[in-house]
Symmetry: C2
Subunit: 341 residues, 2 copies
């Protein structure tokens, strides 16, 4: 197993990336290539005991920063850690690429330098989500603001394969996000996608609503990249809003503060149940290689988890499974989407 | 002031509607017509002291139930409380219609029997939302799953007028929901709507993301009815998910339970800060009359609040203001939406 990790990715620079790489290399024996500016990576790496570990540094002089325009940055920064890392995967020099960096940059670099899996019309960004019934997958969360029905069908297939192989969910339930559960509900896009999904060899449970995501009513939630992006950011914002109110109101009185101390363990258990660091990252699905993207604010533990997701996706053949799975989808022409079901 | 209240609307039947009508009629001196099945309403009404109150019963033998197909129900049930109530507003027999019933039914009944304000292309369902900075308005939350850029422009105008006149927010900030704050982000629809909004006489603050809704970064959040519907249901679901986890983890240990007792006042204050019953309902904007729609699960206090919102919308001339406001919008043709800004 050889994973290339974007040592420059994330809000905290190379340090947590180097720490995560050392930890994963030691525990699992993988080779983890650290791609980025060697003058920054090397001084960090020598602080660790790396005897017998496979941790090559691959120098890349440029960095795609968080605020940069993705496609432009990828085109002009040919020696950026993202571009160099993706090229290693394409050339067979690595099995997977992991980054905590600019998500749009990773998407653009993957599209330009890895390309799509044959037959995939659009890759999708996915996100994992804590729910009342465990972790679920939501996609697309931002790669494609405008979608066609066939894209959503392919997202469903890809999400289903990832949920089964990496998240360990047998026969994952696929739900299509809509503004109502009835089959006739939804935008034109969703109604057409519904008709396609009904014919596909997937465990399609029909339309689901926004409330079904935190309820965990499906394992894979399929939507366009606009809606999915609004959803993950709204969910995140709701969590912060409620946490903020709780803290504020508890701290308002002495009795409240005492109560706050007594429920501290309960709050810790909630943090654990919803701890993204255990997951670490979610795949960019549909590109011709394993790419795992994590939060910019990831610390070493989250990055280490993302490396584990990458290894699982490689070992369990997610990319090949998507390519094979495409053959089983009904052959679709755009016209089908407009025919009555 | 004469408001017609759908006595049959909501999950709890006529009782809370009658109670709310009596309470509002007594406190404010309004005439409140109770529309619905008189054999159910009258026995409830006589249980109250209604001396000197104006509470006529308007008999309507049919009811549009919660699960019914809206347009079909409105067409076939000509003597339903919703249809009869809307007709009273259209005929000038009442100033406003308030219902806790089937939202789609209210929308269909309003479209068929009140019609649109001249120049409005599509009415919008709105929702009020508790945020870190007070209540905000989100629209459309479900009337139009597929929108054109001009619809969103009109939603922004209508929402802005309602926020200013009824919610008391001076020069309300209008945000356009998108998958990124940059002007270039968004679906084709959102990018085109952005260009229109920039030219409009509104306090347009640009694109906002999902997280900005609970943060209260704008006063009026504009989106299509598909996204808006997914958003309100996701936000509701997130609230339930977090509350459920909190309860579960607090109740797991004795110390946690004690802590739970001590933070009870804090939780009560949070409930008050986010108490929808104080708001009671949100307007269906763009139809030619005041229509306020509330939750099906409303009790008397929420219904009374919804009656207050209706009275405010009438007194502060929301419908006329929308008609006038339309004149100030740049004259738009669909083609404009496709020109570069």
């Amino acid at each position: 197993m050889k994973i290339v990790l974007d040592a420059m990715g994330g809000d905290f620079g190379p340090a947590p990336n180097v720490e995560a790489a050392v930890s994963a290399a030691r525990e699992f024996g993988w080779e983890i290539a650290l791609v980025g500016r060697q003058e920054l990576i090397r001084p960090l790496l020598v602080q660790h005991n790396t005897a017998n570990l496979h941790l090559p540094i691959v120098h890349a002089s440029e960095v795609i920063e968080m605020g940069e325009h993705p496609a432009q940055a990828v085109k002009t920064k040919k020696n950026s850690s993202m571009v160099v890392g993706m090229q290693m995967v394409r050339n067979g020099d690595a099995d997977a690429f992991v980054t905590m960096g600019n998500t749009g940059g990773a998407l653009a670099a993957a599209l330009f330098h890895l390309g799509r899996i044959q037959g995939i019309q659009r890759p999708a960004l996915s996100a994992v989500f804590p729910t009342a019934k465990g972790w679920v997958l939501l996609l697309d969360v931002g790669a494609n603001a405008d979608c066609k029905p066939e894209y959503l069908l392919q997202f469903a297939l890809m999400g289903s394969i990832y949920a089964e192989r990496v998240m360990g969910i047998r026969n994952p339930r696929v739900g299509l996000i809509s503004n109502g559960e009835e089959e006739t509900k939804g935008s034109e896009l969703v109604q057409a996608a519904h008709r396609l999904l009904k014919q596909a060899p997937l465990n399609f449970i029909g339309n689901v609503e926004g409330r079904n995501l935190p309820a965990g009513s499906a394992d894979v939630f399929v939507t366009d990249g606009f809606t999915g992006n609004v959803m993950i950011k709204l969910a995140e914002g709701m969590g912060e809003f409620i946490k903020g109110m709780l803290r504020e109101e508890i701290m308002r009185t002495t009795i409240g503060k005492l109560g706050g101390l007594l429920i501290k363990d309960a709050l810790t258990r909630i943090s654990k149940r919803t701890d993204y660091q255990e997951i670490g990252g979610a795949p960019l699905l549909g590109v011709d290689g394993v790419v795992i993207i994590g939060h910019g604010r990831s610390q070493a533990r989250a990055i280490r988890s993302a490396l584990m997701r990458a290894a699982e996706a490689v070992e369990r053949g997610v990319v090949d499974a998507i390519e094979t799975g495409l053959q089983a989808l009904p052959k679709l022409r755009p016209a089908i989407a407009n025919e009555p079901s």
